[in-house]
Amino acid sequence: MSLLTVADLSVAYGRIQAVQGVALDIAAGSIVTVIGANGAGKTSLLNAVMGLLPARGEVTFRGEAMARCPTEKRFSLGMSLVTESRDLFTTMSIEDNLILGANRCGRREIVQRMAEVFARFPRLKERSTQLAGTLSGGERQMLAMGRALMARPQLLMLDEPSLGLAPIIVREIFHIISDLRDNGVAILLVEQNARAALQVADYAYVMELGLVTMDGPASQLAGDPRVIESYLGFGGADTNTA
């Protein structure tokens, strides 16, 4: 059964249509990726699903229509979004950022969840008292994901998690993403790094100028000549260099 269904979703900034009639579907415990060039409308799509942007169309999460739900409500129903800018609480410590990720939980629950996050991101534990604003790009990404995971979401949406990160960190992040899926978290992954995204995903959508132009199982899209040409480069067949 699908966890999230998006039907005929459109987002407009004034007269500019950023997203036009997009439909997508995510099953529980699967990774779905949306790839596309800069400005294709991927970020607007995620923000609209999370309720940060006003949008037309239908978003259904766990069988409930989200139209009237503000972002906070969607969050408490089990959706989490890690934005491209990460939106961390920069002048607060790593620990405080994580605590706020589970701000409705009791103290004992927070401690337990934080231990789980630290197990997944040991680097955060070493620096738990450091201010979020002083972290490196990779650590920020980990903290943003950790903060989102503190809520134990059913759907984790990641906007460009590999942006600006060293290849070794990117590999680590993608490893964690597939591990999360194996633990039952559905993931909606928006990426410009199409090669890495298609490798880890179960299903993929290609967005161009606000429209979904292609979709299919990720392995199938990774072999599609149009995808190879536009998003993977001519070395697309070599999938070991992610």
């Binding site: 503000p70 972002t71 969050f75 989490s80 939106d87 920069t90």
Partner: protein, 345 residues
């Protein structure tokens, strides 16, 4: 100026500085959480002092009726806003909280006011009447505009200030009042007299500031307020509703304003419009602190208190002018040497 005068003015500076510090710190908090420059902060001081004065005189304070009226307006707005999802139960809940509770308070005050229950119960009653006005003002004036620009929010704040001053005149009348002191005792320290009231003011202020510090550092609610101040979007993404942090910030600001009113009510005569100047001085201190640093704002408030006391001694006709003038070099300094603050827009 001899030593006695100096000490006297020093004591005076400390007392007014303490009050301004409370107002400045809450002004910084409200601004960083909601982006509202809350000019009417001083009105809560006035309302606190005048409500206590009325209760001491055995009269029902106008605030009791005001709270009922404001609650009714908030209830109507809440129901209009939620009209599409409004159920019977929800409407009843809104009515009980926004109209029922103020009505109950009104009954209690009607019963309690003539009995003159003494200072502590009267102070508690005052807080119960004045503090709820904070979140109600937020709901009526600012919540619908949460995404508006800082300038729009400032204009609304000025409007709220005018409204609250006008309502103050309607509900308290044009006469000034002074409340009785927490304590009449006077201690002699060397050649100086220290009134117990001034010790009360300073220790209460210190306790409130310490309490605020612990609230922001140690409690999840305090951290939520800080988080909303750092990144509104980040806060929404972890389920912190900006409405909730807005209520909380306005409740705190009303509480601290009202407590300040209880403290200074016995030191000076308060009229329905006295709050404005008091609030403005807190505002000057908040600006001197750059509108983001709590310790700087508190320190600047002490400076404002000092400048005020000493200028009222040596150039009393110009005391307000001198206090408000110190803002100019600071603004110049900041505009030249500091980059514009990023989170403003």
């Amino acid at each position: 100026m001899d030593a006695t005068t100096l000490l006297l003015l020093g004591q005076d500076s400390l007392i007014s500085g303490a009050i301004y510090a409370l107002l400045a710190v809450t002004m910084v908090m409200v601004f960083s959480v909601t982006r509202v420059l809350f000019i009417p902060q001083g009105e809560f001081v006035t309302y606190g002092a005048l409500t206590l004065a009325a209760l001491e005189a055995g009269r029902v304070p106008g605030t009791a009726w005001l709270l009922l009226g404001v609650g009714a307006v908030a209830a109507v707005l809440a129901m209009t806003r939620a009209r599409q999802t409004l159920t019977f139960l929800k409407a009843i809940r809104i009515l009980i909280i926004d109209v029922g509770l103020p009505a109950l308070l009104l009954l209690i005050v009607h019963w309690a006011a003539p009995l003159k229950l003494g200072l502590v119960p009267e102070m508690l009653l005052t807080l119960a009447l004045v503090v709820p006005l904070g979140p109600l003002v937020y709901r009526i004036a600012f919540q619908p505009l949460a995404e508006a620009s800082i300038l729009v929010l400032l204009i609304v704040a000025v409007g709220v200030h005018m409204g609250m001053t006008g309502l103050g005149l309607v509900f308290f009348g044009p006469e000034g009042y002074q409340t009785s002191a927490f304590s009449d005792a006077v201690f002699e320290l060397g050649f100086m007299n220290i009134s117990a009231q001034s010790i009360w003011v300073v220790t209460t202020t210190a306790a409130l500031l310490l309490g605020l510090y612990l609230f922001f550092e140690k409690t999840v609610s305090g951290k939520m307020l800080r988080a909303a101040a750092i990144s509104r979007r980040g806060a929404r993404l972890v389920g912190i509703s900006t409405d909730r942090t807005g209520y909380l910030a306005f409740t705190l600001t009303a509480l601290i304003g009202a407590v300040s009113g209880l403290m200074i009510g016995s030191l000076t005569t308060i009229y329905y419009d006295s709050g404005f100047i008091i609030g403005l001085k807190g505002f000057v201190a908040a600006i001197l602190g750059g509108l983001h640093s709590y310790p700087l704002a508190a320190a600047a408030a002490l400076l404002v208190g000092t400048v005020e006391s000493f200028s009222s001694y040596s150039a009393s006709a110009f005391k307000e002018v001198i206090v408000f003038t110190i803002i100019i070099p600071v603004l110049l300094w900041r505009s030249i040497f500091r980059p514009p603050v990023e989170h403003l827009e």
